[in-house]
């Protein structure tokens, strides 16, 4: 229980500090720390595979997308306003945040959770694979095809030789 509290505190604190930072790069890096905290939670819960996938995808890849986006879109430091511009924007933010919070809470509360007495099942990677390719074959195949097409697209874009980018 202490471990869980610690992980939750680190994750939430990183996320909270990320929101209050003026420096966007610091915010992005703190967000990465928060994602790592979520991976820690998965590890604590015994879901090794999900935890490592979380690190690989979020800390390794999504963080890069976020950082590149921040670097490419950043305006100068002076015009970066933290305070909301108008009352309308505050209201809109509260409504949007509240809607997400409500949806999440509703989902959590309406999910029937198994009684705490049952020990967590020890799921091997093999069993996980059997589940994914047994019951969820269609969705896995769809995602696999989508990602492979994206990869091939990247290769095709790289392969088209235009005159101006030749050295």
């Amino acid at each position: 229980m202490i471990t869980l509290t610690f992980i939750a505190l680190v994750t939430l604190a990183a996320a909270a500090v990320a929101m209050s930072q003026r420096n966007l790069i610091h915010s992005a890096l703190l967000l990465v720390a928060s994602w790592a905290g979520i991976a820690g939670f998965y590890l604590w819960a015994g879901a090794e595979f999900v935890a490592f996938a979380q690190i690989l995808v979020y800390v390794g890849a999504v963080s890069m997308v976020v950082l590149f986006a921040v670097l490419l879109t950043r305006r100068s430091h002076a015009e970066l306003a933290i305070a909301p511009a108008s009352v309308k924007r505050i209201l809109a933010a509260i409504v949007a945040g509240g809607a997400v919070l409500g949806a999440l809470f509703g989902a959590v509360l309406s999910t029937p959770l198994a009684s705490a007495a049952a020990p967590p099942p020890a799921i091997s990677v093999k069993a996980l694979g059997a589940q994914l390719l047994g019951r969820h074959t269609a969705s896995v195949l769809l995602i696999a095809v989508l990602l492979t097409v994206a990869l091939l697209g990247a290769v095709v874009i790289a392969s088209t030789n235009s005159k101006e980018d030749a050295p």
């Binding site: 790069i25 610091h26 890096l29 990465v32 090794e48 595979f49 490592f52 996938a53 690190i55 690989l56 800390v59 390794g60 890849a61 963080s63 890069m64 950082l67 091997s124 990677v125 093999k126 492979t148 990869l151 990247a154 290769v155 790289a158 392969s159 980018d165 050295p167």
Partner: protein
């Protein structure tokens, strides 16, 4: 490793269990006798602490002597001597002085003293915290990857079901540290070259992962220990069934080698810190021990990737011939690891550095498609596992053709108009 893991492994390998001699069990016996002295509740902690200290000590020293080996071998390749001056230091409290040079083998310790005593310069504009965190994190993450490498039949620090995923998860975090180093320096050249380094590392992550997946496909497991066990067979007791001795395995190993070289920023892919052009790239603003930490992390990364290559393709700790099993498995592993490192040094002394456009092109136009084709090749191999007799020859021929034909065709089409290169010499 716990006893249940042991029994699982010996169930896999009835032959090997008999060969589990005294030397084979020596590290475990030493650890257990040491742990026995302490009260029972702290023993599990000590078990892990000993693994950690062992890895730090062995691979710390391995790193130190890799740098000497690299400098000496590069010296030989460039027809000079390399470092040979650092010998036994003169201790003033001793009445005598051993004036032996020790073939320059104490050079890394002299280097360490130099790095520790150099001034640590932090730019005034730098982001102090991130500037400090980057070298610390890069070493931490690169050391984490050693946890899942099986160093011997009974020697694996952490036995995980998803070990390979763990390895790449720990390794992928180094990208973040490159960014942190470049950005925190507040130097536009550092930032620009950090972007170049990231482009390289991200581009080569893909072929690296894709070259590993065929092994997972054929072995049917993500656990490094079980992948090694799957390679522990011999034909006539002489020809090892390592994955490199299959058509898809050989292709996968070559792809892995190229991608590993690029991932660890080694020559000929060392443009992130090309010292002659970029004054060390994203490391420009680092000096003293922080620079040494980056240097160390680079070698740790290289060693870990070499260890992974040995584990996946070169049979890990398995002996090359059945009758050579009396030599402890960890010695085989370290021997293969040293072989890989020497090969990497040899490549560094031989090949020229690529340009950044050539580098990214090599990855996206050549390695990624080849790795995808090789994945299909491995799928063919896994599906035809039941073929025997003359069909076995067909299986090998088809599998070899599946990778060689695309290699030749793609190589020809990509170098059209550029090859063969003509050289003109002054006469």
């Amino acid at each position: 490793m716990n006893s249940s893991g042991l029994s699982l492994l010996s169930a896999h390998l009835p032959v090997a269990a008999a060969a589990d001699g005294l030397l084979e069990r020596l590290p475990l016996t030493l650890r257990d006798t040491f742990v026995q002295w302490f009260p029972a509740p702290t023993q599990w902690l000590l078990h892990h602490l000993i693994s950690i200290v062992g890895i730090l000590a062995i691979f710390g020293l391995f790193f130190a002597f890799t740098t000497v080996a690299e400098r000496k071998l590069l010296g030989r390749l460039q027809n000079r001597l390399g470092p040979n001056r650092a010998g036994v230091p003169k201790f003033s409290f001793l009445p005598f002085h051993l004036k032996h040079k020790l073939f320059g083998l104490t050079q890394p310790f002299a280097d360490a003293v130099k790095a520790l005593t150099k001034e640590d310069i932090v730019p005034a504009a730098a982001d102090k915290l991130l500037h400090f965190l980057a070298p610390v994190l890069v070493v931490a993450f690169s050391l984490l990857t050693f946890a899942v490498l099986p160093f011997g039949r009974n020697l694996i620090p952490v036995e995980l079901d998803a070990a390979l995923l763990y390895f790449f998860a720990a390794g992928s975090a180094t990208e973040l540290t490159i960014f942190m180093a470049g950005w925190a320096s507040r130097n536009k050249y550092s930032l620009l070259s950090a972007m170049r380094a990231l482009a390289q590392v991200i581009s080569y992550e893909l072929p690296l992962l894709l070259s590993v997946i065929p092994v997972v496909l054929v072995a049917g497991t993500l656990s490094t220990q079980e992948i090694v066990v799957a390679q522990g067979f011999w034909t006539f007791g002489l020809l090892p069934h390592w994955f490199i001795f299959t058509p898809w395995g050989a292709a996968g190993f070559l792809l892995f080698l190229v991608a590993a070289l690029a991932e660890s920023n080694r020559s000929p892919f060392d443009l992130p810190e090309a010292e002659s052009e970029l004054i060390a790239g994203h490391l420009t603003e680092y000096s003293g021990f922080k620079y040494a930490l980056f240097f160390m992390a680079e070698y740790f990364g290289l060693t870990a990737l070499s260890g992974l290559g040995v584990t996946l393709f070169l049979g890990g700790w398995q002996a090359p011939c059945a009758f050579l099993q009396f030599i402890p498995s960890y010695l085989w592993f370290m021997g293969k690891l040293v072989g890989m490192i020497v090969f990497f040094i040899w490549v560094r002394g031989t090949l020229l550095r690529l340009r950044i456009d050539q580098l990214t092109r090599l990855s996206w136009q050549f390695l990624v498609p080849l790795a995808l084709i090789n994945l299909g090749n491995a799928a063919f191999w896994a599906l035809t596992g039941a073929w025997s007799g003359p069909l076995q020859i067909v299986r090998w021929a088809v599998s070899a053709a599946l990778i060689v034909v695309p290699f030749v065709l793609m190589g020809r089409s990509l170098t059209r108009g550029q090859a063969p290169r003509t050289y003109r010499y002054a006469t």
